[in-house]
């Protein structure tokens, strides 16, 4: 599997782009979907942005490239919810995006039969701020993609692309997680305290998260106020704790929150940690199958209670 080259062959993305276009054309023309949610080229060179295509003539706008970072599941759970009224929707998903879709199905937000899922084989996407239009390498690949286990999405209606040999990437996220776990609580506290102190409460993390689909966020409520809303350290700490807790057992690790954070807070670390704990405690992994009940909505009588006196 490993190749000696240090970069990912961009041929994959071009092939996938063609396949997406063909599939989109097919489903739109056949009326199997009212719209296709995918990516199109961004205004600036080497960027991409979400696209909703309804006209079969415009399928050529769809692309797939290392710049297609967005998790499109968001566009079904809240961002462009209104398009769901049009009928069956086709959606282009990377493996990580599909995990979010699966989670949303378990939470009654989506129905499988309402979707035509076009899975794309993905070797990785760019990290935030990486130089555009060059092949992905140790320098430019996103953290989550380095340890990706879902390059090929499973359970889509069609899956396009063939995975090339991949170079070995340093697993920076798990290394960072281990580094934090090895710290004393006091060290961890000051680590997070420094990061959270920078938070400006722009809520980009919330906006971009496919699972933050509540009509009214608990953290915006003022009767009672559970979390202070001004961007002060106390409220910031509370916000990030509540956010991580609410995503525990649900977050599928798309790491969009971390990508969009203007203050570079390593938010996906929290999500990864909770996912790891819930796997260890209850053997739960989010996003692999549609489960009626997540790990925190069910129990076993013999669950671990060694921490309870």
């Amino acid at each position: 599997m490993t190749n000696t080259a240090q970069t990912i062959d961009p041929a994959l993305y071009a092939a996938v782009t063609d396949a997406i276009r063909a599939e989109a054309k097919k489903v739109l023309e056949a009326g199997a979907a009212a719209a296709v949610v995918g990516w199109q080229a961004g205004r600036r060179q080497g960027t991409a942005m979400p696209a909703i295509i309804t006209d079969p003539a415009k399928v050529a706008e769809l692309i797939f490239s290392p710049a297609c970072v967005n998790n499109l599941a968001l566009y079904l759970s809240k961002a462009k919810k209104e398009i769901r009224a049009r009928g069956r929707i086709a959606i282009v998903v990377k493996g990580c995006d599909l995990k979010a879709l699966v989670g949303l199905m378990g939470e009654n937000q989506l129905k499988r039969e309402d979707l035509h899922v076009i899975g794309v084989v993905c070797a990785g996407v760019q990290r935030a701020g990486a130089a555009k239009d060059i092949p992905l390498s140790e320098e430019t690949i996103a953290g989550k993609c380095r340890e990706c286990t879902v390059h090929t999405p499973e359970g889509a209606d069609v899956t396009v692309g063939t995975l090339p040999d991949l170079p070995h990437f340093t697993p920076v996220e798990s290394e960072e997680l281990s580094r934090l776990e090895a710290m004393t609580p006091a060290q961890r506290w000051s680590f997070w305290k420094e990061h959270f102190a920078r938070c400006i409460r722009c809520y980009a993390c919330r906006q971009v998260c496919p699972f933050c689909y509540c009509e009214q966020c608990l953290c915006d409520r003022n009767r009672p106020q559970a979390v202070e809303t001004t961007p002060r350290p106390a409220g910031n700490m509370a916000w990030h704790i509540v956010r991580a807790m609410h995503l525990a057992g649900r977050c599928a690790g798309c790491a969009e929150c971390e990508r969009v954070c203007p203050m570079d807070i390593p938010l996906n670390l929290l999500n990864r940690k909770m996912a790891k704990e819930l796997k260890e405690l209850y053997g739960h992994e989010a996003g692999f199958e549609v489960k009626e009940k997540g790990p925190l909505a069910q129990y076993r009588e013999d669950d671990d209670q060694s921490f309870i006196k």
């Binding site: 009654n108 937000q109 966020c217 608990l218 409520r221 009767r223 009672p224 559970a226 609410h246 909505a297």
Partner: protein, 665 residues
């Protein structure tokens, strides 16, 4: 601005001794929103309650905090007082400064400071209290009684006599339970059958009682006043309506040698049988596991000989739904068996007593069948092994009971008395025989009980040996009993002809499964738990369900009958009202914010959450939200803690109320 009244109780000296109540009241008066604060010697007394009522009127109070004992003690009292003063009762809260403060701390300053904190927290809470209206639900005035032993029969008769319909469900083919198996009963030695059979017939003939024998509870839905019970009527293979009880089928059945469980397998019965001659109903049942027709498809004798054509080999289990308003659980007990238990069972058998392999080592109930005039020996005491009359009989008490090593640490309560009875019955029937009893303590509290036990020793000459038995083993046709007499400190060896073990009283197998269906709690032995050991001994913590008899703990017949009548009285109290009021501590969904992730539905232990479709005027589906059925909601609040957007709230424990308390810290 709120107008809260704070009333600090001295509880005589109970609170005032360690808490400076005046200071607590003075500090409370300074809290924002407190319009009035005072202290009084006994708030729960009449003058105390009047003080509260007058203050509500005088100071136009819109919330009350009574700083006194635990709300578990007097919340109802003060809420009623508030109500009679014209205040919504749910605007009255109690600050527990007795059980949680004055009684557990000695330092006066610390206790006073803590009491003030507690009051401040409750003041903060009461400001966020909402007016709540009790929920009313209609009552179905029909009762279900589970178990047709003496407990169930008594409860059913009492309720039926009061004019209410009763559904009596019994697992076995006949009602009667253990009492029908007994010979005589202590302390009067009257014949069990003679006092039991009339009651069985009464129950069967009572116009208000519907009897389902050979039936089990399949499922239980609903709640107090409104249960839906599904009863599984097992296939009897005999049409009850047609059968006349003539008994020809049993007489002609070629299978005759099936051990009769009712006689503890001492006697035999045919494959189509009634368990005992006095059975009610007197309708036989086919034991399909042993019936030649069901095993081979050949025979059919019973069908041929049945005049009324009541035999139906094709009969299947039937499910019957019975709506009821109250349930009496009276599933009784079974005896511990000394045989080796399967691996994994917490109960161990008695290897030192031969694991049940020595034929002349029997249990107390087997002895009852031997002594019973309607039993397999016609009331003669004969050994199971060779049918000889035993001349030396050893009784061993506390087998399995009071033995934590064997997995049971409780006293079975009835064995001391029935063993004394056994020695007497034995002496009456075998005049030249000698009874020995190994015992630890003779526990004979009860009217005429100790006198009865003494009579066994003094007049019937039973030899009581205080000490336990280490081992039993067969030696020739005798059983060697190795015991000790701890009074004289020597080992005792008796070569017995028959050994009778007073084995422990245990709940029925499957008691836990039934409890799970009913939603009632049980202890580690699977005895059902009453709501309060002293003050609510027949109620379950689950409203509308009551306990009678040995399913709740070992009991003799007088206690069982008393408890059964008590349970019946509780049912009648419930049925005296047309509607039930219950605390409105239930969850409500904020439909505006709910996004129907249905987390609440997934965690609800009561299944109270449903999906509700919101439609526009044209009937188009707009969206789906969660809906909590207030009749079914138990009020635990797990839904609210789980709801990401807090779109479901538990009345009485809202986030606002709780946050207010935390913030008042």
């Amino acid at each position: 601005m709120s107008r809260i009244g704070v009333f600090v109780c001295h509880c005589g000296e109970n609170i005032a001794r360690t808490v400076d109540v005046e200071k607590v009241a003075a500090e409370a008066a300074r809290l924002p929103g407190v319009a009035y604060a005072t202290d009084y010697k006994y708030m729960c007394s009449d003058p105390g309650q009047n003080l509260l009522k007058n203050a509500v009127a005088e100071h136009r109070l819109d919330g009350i905090v009574v700083a006194a004992c635990s709300p578990r003690m007097h919340e109802k009292t003060f809420r009623n007082a508030a109500k009679s003063a014209g205040l919504n009762p749910f605007l009255c809260e109690m600050a527990n400064i007795r059980e949680h403060c004055s009684w557990v701390h000695e330092d006066r300053d610390e206790a006073t400071a803590k009491a003030s904190d507690i009051v401040a927290m409750m003041v903060a809470r009461v400001k966020k209290d909402k007016r709540l209206v009790p929920i009313t639900v209609p009552v179905t005035k029909r009762a279900l009684v589970i178990g047709g032993g003496i407990a169930g029969i008594q409860a059913a008769l009492d309720i039926a006599d009061a004019g209410h319909q009763v559904v009596l469900v019994e697992r076995e083919p006949s009602i009667g339970g253990h009492m029908a198996q007994l010979s005589e009963t202590f302390p009067t030695l009257d014949c069990s059958q003679c006092i039991m059979t009339p009651k069985m017939v009464d129950a069967a003939n009572h116009p208000n009682i519907t009897l389902h024998t050979y039936s089990e509870i399949e499922s239980v839905d609903g709640y107090i006043g409104n249960f839906q019970i599904t009863v599984r009527k097992k296939a009897r293979s005999v049409i009850e309506e047609k059968c006349t009880g003539c008994g020809v089928c049993s007489a002609k059945c070629p299978q005759k040698k099936i051990p009769n469980a009712f006689d503890k397998n001492l006697g035999t019965r045919p494959a189509i049988y009634v368990p005992f001659p006095q059975a009610v109903p007197n309708t036989p049942v086919i034991d399909r596991a042993n019936c030649t027709w069901f095993k081979t498809g050949k025979c059919g004798v019973c069908q041929k000989v049945c005049g009324p054509g009541a035999i139906d080999y094709e009969q299947e289990d039937r499910l019957i739904v019975e709506p009821v308003g109250a349930i009496v659980v009276a599933t009784g007990f079974e005896l511990y068996s000394i045989t080796e238990k399967p691996k994994g069972s917490p109960i161990k058998g008695y290897g030192e007593f031969g694991h049940g392999t020595i034929p002349d080592v029997i249990d107390g109930l087997t002895f009852e069948r031997l002594a019973s005039a309607s039993g397999p020996t016609g009331g003669k005491i004969l050994r199971p092994s060779d049918g000889r009359e035993p001349k030396q009989v050893v009784f061993v008490q506390c087998v399995g009971s009071r033995a934590r090593e064997k997995g049971i640490s409780y006293c079975s309560k009835i064995c001391c008395m029935y063993t004394a009875k056994h020695t007497m019955l034995y002496k009456h029937k075998v005049h030249d025989g000698q009874a020995y009893v190994f015992f630890m303590d003779a526990r004979t509290p009860g009217k005429s009980y100790d006198e009865f036990w003494r009579r066994a020793i003094e007049e019937e000459e039973a030899v009581y040996i205080r000490g336990m038995v280490s081992r039993l083993y067969q030696k020739g046709d005798k059983i060697v009993v190795m015991g000790s007499d701890v009074h004289v400190g020597v080992q005792v060896e008796i070569e017995a002809d028959l050994v009778v073990l007073a084995t422990a009283v245990q709940p029925r197998a499957g008691a836990d499964t039934l409890a799970q269906k009913l939603g009632i709690s049980y202890d580690s032995y699977h005895f059902y738990s009453e709501a309060h050991a002293k003050l609510k001994p027949v109620e379950c913590a689950t409203a509308g369900i009551y306990l009678a008899g040995a399913c709740q703990g070992p009991k003799d017949i007088p206690d069982t009958v008393s408890q059964a009548s008590a349970a019946a009285a509780k049912v009648m109290t419930l049925f005296a009202k047309d509607e039930l009021e219950r605390e409105p501590i239930v969850a409500k969904v904020n439909e505006k914010n709910c996004v129907a992730c249905l987390y609440c539905k997934k965690v609800c232990p009561y299944g109270a959450v449903e999906e509700k479709e919101i439609r526009d005027r044209q009937g188009n589906l707009i969206r789906v939200v969660a809906y909590v059925n207030p009749g079914v909601c138990g009020g635990c609040g797990t839904c609210q803690a789980s709801c990401p957007s807090k779109s479901v709230e538990l009345d009485g424990y809202t986030d606002e109320q709780i946050m207010a308390m935390i913030e008042a810290l």
